[in-house]
Symmetry: C2
Subunit: 445 residues, 2 copies
């Protein structure tokens, strides 16, 4: 009997082992488990309606919806739609002849992006040509974009008139701009970003999650331009993402955003180059910090911990935002204030220098006897100075994202602007063009 | 018997209690115990010979002696005596007409201070007047000073000729410059520092030990000037220790260090304003870090732990220096490098701008028909621009002690220099004075 029990037990063990092995082999051959949650609803690929995603991720969705009303301001920025042209009238002069001189309000939260782009006077401003504004202007404003780009391709999208594309663009920035439905992983959705990275030999699909927590912001928070007649959305990164490389890129291309009235300078408008500013050797970036670490800090709601999608200035919730790494948040807020005060003051001095250059170039350009070579050199320096200034000014951090780089750029911009002024004076031999500080009379709009 | 034992015991207890009380009262009335060690030798007050102090503190003394030979360099500074005039020939032009254009070597370690001041061509340079250099030049070079100041007073000290004072100055910087013998506490020994603090309503005797670990460095590492005919050592801090306040202080006083040749600009020479740069809202200072935390970090020798007195750049021993607070010293060294690269590059651009201004002012000053008011205004701006540049350039950190402030100052200096150049051109109506980048021909010495 002992022997037969032993025999039976041995048989059972063999069978169990075989079953276990089979199960393991079966599991191994299954596709990898890409998500660890059971969704309440299936979200279709590139679903533009964030409220559908919100059923599976109510905390993230609720916090995203807060960007509709998070209109608090910091000392220099924030999320209200205050007018830059009223706060700093020098900018009316700096952007004369282009739409930013007519309407330049500070950006509100993500959920207002679509409403604000439809309302700004910077689109559809040409009453004689209601289709002049290209659809490209919607590229950073809507969660409808990933599906539209997939459907029609970015080339066709960009060729449409803004007015015609409006009907298909109904949702503000949302889940589909950064996430892949189903896996919820972070993805590059803007084809222009994918192309710009590829031009640098980079493939975002090889990036770590922490890298993606910065790169997805570059879907929009970058310098870009509209290439050619098709207004093809392009990032000027082929030579590098530092300012000098972008200027030389535009120079080779012979590109201008607009011509400065009377001065005839071929100008460049910087957009919102937060990604380039931050990644240009800033202390936080080099330390491995991602955009989302500060702007989408982990927060708690009861027992749930999630990344807040109520994106805004970390100065408005420093304990949550800075406190993830820094123990003394009072100190870091004070520190940010010192940095921003210094950058803001330096920035105004740069604006004065550029305006002095503009006045000189305008006067010289009106003189038919001006030395054309000297005047063109003055224009080249005006273009460079203003782009460097604008790179700091349009960037949403008043230099905090990269204080040393911001201040270095402002120093260069001021120097370049003064040299532009001197060249303009030389081009006509008119000493009166060396006057300084004549900024106080913005041109009538 | 039980009763008599109880009685005896009670008596003993009463006697013991009385004895204990008496002892406590006696101890309470003793002078406070000011040191917790038993010295091997008694060090007399203001003992100039550091080797005497060294018998009690061999580790501190041995490390101080290392400053004799710690001649390693960093990328932009260090402790060798490399020539600034060879490394950056622009400085020959910037300091033309004053001793720094003849001999400007980088500072070596503390133990070489006396040897180096005796050897530099910046003292006793006037062969016609061998007593022209005042004794004041020894103020930061010797541990003989505290006793000499106590004995003769700083006024008499400063009135002596350098050549005459030499006999009494035999020891390089040492213990007596910062410590009180006996208690070893940190003290202000330079009367000029005590007076400058008092002018701001500050009494260093109320400072914490951590504050003193910065303030004792201000015995020497500051901006100063020689006041009046008596060459009285004075720090220009009455209006504040920021650069603008110091410029307005010098302006009110009508002070100049020298007159720039041909240009006739009344110039200011910045000394080594590490204290002012660091304390002007820098991130490390605001975080409570003292000079000694980085430059004199705690080190170990066997079981002994002491503050290293081998003072030099923390970039030469980052694990010890930065590692007291930062876990990733590779990162912070890289960070310091990025900051210094940006400051160094911006500094050169500022130098070019100032030299352009100098060339223009010199040419204008040679023209008897120059508009005197415009030319004087140009000189005023030249003076301001060069002092701001020099504040960054002479300061031993290539901006690291306060990156944002350094870059802001350079931006202002460049702007001011360009305006000086324009005013000079206007004063004579000569367009050729607007030439830029003409720095390459240093004047013959």
């Amino acid at each position: 009997m002992n022997r037969s029990i032993t025999f039976i037990l041995a048989g059972v063990i063999v069978l169990l082992a075989a079953a276990l092995t089979g199960t393991l082999i079966f599991m191994k051959n299954q596709p990898p488990q890409e998500r660890s949650f059971e969704p309440l609803v299936e979200v279709k690929a590139m679903e533009p309606d964030s409220s559908v995603w919100g059923q599976n991720f109510p905390n993230q969705y609720d916090s995203l919806m807060k960007t509709k009303t998070n209109n608090a301001d910091t000392k220099y920025g924030g999320s209200s739609a205050f007018s830059w042209l009223e706060r700093d009238p020098r900018q009316k002069i700096l952007f004369a002849g282009m739409p930013f001189s007519k309407d330049y309000n500070d950006d509100r939260g993500h959920a207002n992006a679509l409403e604000d782009v439809n309302a700004t006077k910077r689109v559809n401003w040409d009453v004689n040509d209601p289709k002049r504004t290209p659809g490209t202007c919607y590229s950073c404003k809507s969660s409808d974009n990933p599906a539209l780009w997939a459907e029609m391709g970015m080339e066709a999208y960009d060729k449409m008139a803004f007015a015609d594309l409006s009907k298909q663009v109904n949702n503000a920035i949302g889940c589909a701009n950064c996430h892949e439905a189903g896996t919820m992983r972070l993805i590059v959705t803007n084809p222009a970003l994918e192309e710009a990275l590829k031009a640098q030999g980079k493939d975002w699909k090889t990036f770590s999650r922490q890298e993606m927590r910065t790169v997805v912001c570059a879907n929009c928070h970058v310098e870009y331009y509209f290439k050619g007649d098709g207004k093809y959305l392009t990032f000027p990164w082929a030579d590098g993402t530092d300012v000098d490389s972008m200027i030389s890129y535009y120079e080779e291309l012979g590109f201008k955003d607009w011509e400065y009235p009377d001065a005839k300078t071929p100008m460049l408008k910087a957009q919102h180059p937060e990604y380039e500013m931050f990644t240009q050797g800033s202390t936080h970036y080099n330390a491995g910090v991602a955009c989302a670490d500060c702007h989408m800090p982990y927060v708690r709601d009861g027992a749930a911990k999630y990344s807040s999608h109520d994106v805004h200035s970390p100065l408005l919730n420093p304990v949550q935002a800075c406190g993830q790494c820094h123990t003394d948040t009072d100190y870091v807020v004070e520190r940010a204030g010192i940095i921003q005060d210094q950058v803001a003051e330096t920035k105004i001095a740069t604006e004065d220098a550029i305006i002095d250059a503009i006045n000189a170039i305008k006067a010289a350009a009106a003189n038919p006897n001006a030395d054309a070579a000297l005047l063109d050199q003055a224009r080249k320096l005006h273009r460079e100075a203003q782009f460097k200034w604008d790179f700091v000014s349009a960037e949403n951090s008043t230099g905090f994202h990269n204080p040393e780089y911001a201040l270095k750029l402002l120093a260069e911009a001021t120097n370049t602007a003064r040299q532009a002024q001197m060249l303009a004076a030389q081009s006509v031999g008119d000493m009166s063009l060396l006057a300084t500080g004549v900024y106080y009379a913005p041109p009538a709009q």
